[in-house]
Subunit: 178 residues, 2 copies
DNA sequence: CATAACTGCCACACAGAAGTAGCACTTATG
DNA sequence: CATAAGTGCTACTTCTGTGTGGCAGTTATG
């Protein structure tokens, strides 16, 4: 692929992610215009709107997979892995702010998604066993809470590392006074 | 208004809220069908799609206003008011699961919305002064965290009071082990 | 039960977006 | 610099959703 074509493709994907996060019904024409490209150019890469969405979602998923791999959930101490994971996901959320829930149906993507959440769940369970998390909370609450906090921290106007610190502190200690 | 007409109107509003929360681009036809009503009936009440959305949003806003009023932010102790507020909003979120962010532009609605968030912010500030919340957190973090936790707890499969307890506990203490 | 209110259905014009086709033009790369 | 890759533009068809009109039929309410 030619270098400029790759640049255009990248622009379409990231711009699309940003616009679709803001308005899920954004038209291909609008996305193309915002990316500085003709509508026809998008259709040369993607046969349909669905394919573009799948490609955007795939980009996000790949980025998340990289973060999970780099976090080394099973090989590092809980605090270190948690910080690496949180900081990484915040950056992914900012670059690929796509609402994951929108992509039901795609079986292959669904599969990768559930594999990731299994890994995170296992990590949280390990954290519980090692005494970092309370044991008297409903099943699933920790993981859903973490996801929600990640959405929140990603939108916060601060550097990813600081946002990650704030998130982890809130996650573990809440914001109640001692 | 005739009683059956009122029932239909109610069905259109609540069904619309539910469907639009799931897919913001739901068509009026789809909403009408799901509500067991003809598409034309919707257009007899609302001149346009925008008006229907505004009416749905207005319903939610009114419900939130009721909850805030009933919470008595300035007249009750912090823990009691917080619990009342949280439990009330969870119920509102379940009956009117509309994404508020979608309604930018409407000036009158925007106004009521900002008034509500001002009241909540003032309450959280009072809670901080009275020693219930930490003082060393960034401005706005507490209120955005609370909103996010409310989304999370509303989707949880448990009675509103239990979900409220879990939320408040997480809000104040986090989920880290002592 | 008479009446007014309300509804369902068929039909229509209109707008916007999806997707497709071909051609002239530009530009990265060997 | 020659060439193949890539792009922009105009135009077209198709489809779906919005919004409107009219009319026959049903139903709540006095």
């Amino acid at each position: 692929m030619r270098a400029d074509a790759a640049r255009n493709l990248e622009a379409v994907l990231t711009t699309g992610a940003r616009m679709l996060a803001d308005d899920p019904s954004s038209s291909i024409g609008a996305i193309a215009a915002e990316a500085g490209v003709d509508r026809r150019t998008v259709y040369r890469r993607f046969a349909s709107r669905e394919e573009l969405l799948a490609a955007i979602y795939d980009s996000r998923l790949a980025a998340v997979e990289d973060v999970v791999r780099a976090a080394r959930f099973t090989e590092t101490t809980v605090p270190v892995a948690l910080h690496r994971y949180v900081e990484g996901i915040i950056e992914v959320n900012r670059r690929w702010p796509v609402e994951l829930t929108r992509m039901r149906a795609e079986p292959s993507i669904q599969d990768r998604r559930s594999r990731l959440s299994t890994e995170v769940d296992a990590f949280l369970q390990r954290a519980t066993h090692e005494g970092f998390l309370r044991e008297d909370i409903p099943a699933g609450w920790a993981s859903r809470l973490l996801i929600q906090l990640l959405h929140l921290a990603s939108k916060e106007d601060m550097e990813a590392p600081r946002a990650a610190d704030l998130l982890v502190e809130t996650f573990l200690d809440g914001i109640g006074a001692r």
